[in-house]
Symmetry: C2
């Protein structure tokens, strides 16, 4: 399988994403390891499957390797768990020339990245995302951090990796639900910026769900390329980058209501995107059948398409906690048309309340 | 008293330091407050003395003000205390347009700054340092962070403030020991880069110890100007900036041995600088009477000039924990001459051991 390389252009912090299957670690990992000390941060699910291969290659290359295995799950994405990484770095006497290697999904990547941003005020960072979601989402953009009990991702840093290895082989052990959650983010890129990609996804969704490695690699490449273009133009999320939050304000509210860890992030975003489509249709920007199209592609990716039974007023309160509240005014990402997202404060509250009350968007007539 | 403004030049992150007495908050503080929400971070000693004035001025300007009062002292410079700031921000529903105002010494500034760097991946930050040490040290350079049980300042970020208000009026309540600790850092700038400044300090040390506001302001201005030049050339401490660590490797070892909080940071740095001078003399770079001169200016500033009774081997181990260890080789800041610091790995270990064994540098004949 051909390895594709995507260069994320951020001036002196530019880096490559290698996308392929069974990537050669000698060729794609070792050149990006600075210093002699490598801390592999992983979790209790991923480490038994894949960690030994990375440790062995690094050891053979003469590196000192230590490990920090975190508990698995979003509920452990906390300052307390982050401190376990600092403890491991300090007790192994790691210095500021070390490299932190994240081997895991988004939670591991976010925590390892924040640790790399903060340890001695910044050390090297390399990412090996082991879920589809983290391959298409966390591997571009440099957002790292942990949750606060009162809100997700409230504490963190922007930290760019030295390299990302997106290896389709690692997706073989991914549970079906997590594969689908990753596909939700893939669909997002199509919805906000690329209708051709949506057509491609509609054509190949069966192969993607069946984990065809070449098709998955193509989806990862197109998703990362899309995100990289946006991030390069807006590294610190002042403008266009907020488009990437399509479905996230609705989705965060759902996650918050359900309790983190009940719904996967991608599942909540899927329903959130469908709600954004529903509101966009109520505003007259897209057609009712476009909402059906969004519902269908999500359903084909085995994602949830019905909204949890949250009273509209409660839903709004949950959305009000979101950090996308600027000066007290809610800003949403909606769809001007399929393939064109828009960041807007211009929506009628009544229409929003109708959307919040519709538990089966794309089914009922708007 | 005239207000002097020093501009720290760091491209888009440049900011002013206002140096004076009883600074007008309307003129110097309010223009630098972004957004409507201000979190004043202070400690239990400073808050009762000064916080009300800042809160009132901000309230009168229509800002929403909340407070986070931390326990006082280096021993509380931890991730746990940092989390108190995040708790306060979240429970008061602060958004990403808020400003964090640090009102306190170095510990408050380091923690408030790291919180400002990390909260929502970065919010605005304004510093009002209330100690001489923090006025000359923490107000330039953007170093923020907390300690780890196994090492100082191991977790943090580079975060530049929007403005710094160095108000000599705030030094009136400063304990004598802390004034002297600040003078240690002032003396440091003279030793590493400005012999004329050392002569000025030798001339005016009596007035500085007596807290003459105009003389203190002059010392703060010259110190900050010196640090600002170095930091502007080397923001992320890759080279020249390490000169600012004169006395710190020895000093950290002393702090670590004594237990944080027993010796003030400036006291440990004072003895550390004297040890650096001692080693520089043993290397033949400065004269024995230069070491006496360093001892005398420190003594005139009421600083300790004798080394704690630590066995040389233990001292070296304590130094080995220091983050200035690069690839396992110890790098020290020494003096090529009075007024010229140098970063070097070129020193004889035997001479270093002699320095570590000399508990009264500047007294015994080298």
């Amino acid at each position: 399988m051909t390895v594709q390389t995507l260069h994320v252009a951020l001036n002196e912090r530019s880096y490559p994403i290698y996308i392929g299957g069974d990537l050669s670690l000698a060729e794609y990992l070792l050149p990006h390891i600075a210093g002699h000390q490598v801390m592999i941060v992983s979790n209790t699910v991923v480490a038994p499957l894949y960690l030994a291969r990375y440790r062995d290659v690094l050891n053979e290359a003469g590196k000192t390797v230590a490990e920090c295995i975190l508990p698995d799950g979003e509920s452990y994405k906390t300052l307390e768990s982050l401190n376990l990484i600092f403890d491991a770095l300090m007790s192994n006497r790691f210095n500021r020339d070390c490299t932190i290697l994240a081997l895991g999904g988004g939670v591991v990547g976010d925590m390892a990245g924040f640790a790399a941003a903060s340890f001695q005020r910044g050390v090297h960072f390399v990412q090996v995302p082991t879920t589809l979601l983290s391959q298409v989402d966390s591997s571009v953009g440099g957002k790292t951090g942990v949750n606060h009990p009162l809100g997700k991702n409230m504490i963190g840093a922007f930290k760019q990796p030295k390299a990302v290895l997106a290896d389709m082989m690692l997706l073989g052990s991914l549970p079906d639900r997590e594969l689908s959650a990753g596909l939700a983010e893939v669909i997002k890129y199509a919805l906000i910026g690329d209708e051709d990609f949506l057509v491609w996804l509609e054509t190949h969704m069966t192969e993607l769900v069946a984990r065809n490695p070449a098709k998955l690699a193509e989806a990862v490449y197109r998703s990362c390329a899309h995100k990289a273009r946006i991030v390069a133009a807006d590294e610190h999320e002042m403008g266009e980058r907020a488009l990437l939050n399509l479905g996230h304000t609705f989705g965060h509210a759902i996650e918050s209501y359900m309790g983190y860890g009940q719904w996967l992030h991608g599942e909540a975003v899927a329903v959130g995107m469908l709600m954004a489509a529903d509101l966009s249709a109520r505003l007259g920007w897209i057609k009712a059948h476009d909402v059906v199209r969004v519902r269908n592609i999500l359903r084909d990716a085995n994602l949830p398409v019905n909204v949890p039974d949250i009273a509209p007023d409660d839903f709004l309160t949950l959305m009000g906690q979101d950090k996308k509240v600027l000066e007290g005014r809610l800003r949403l990402v909606l769809l001007k048309r399929i393939g064109e997202g828009v960041i807007t404060r211009e929506f009628d509250l009544q229409l929003l309340m109708q959307t919040l009350g519709n538990k089966t968007p794309g089914v009922e007539v708007i």
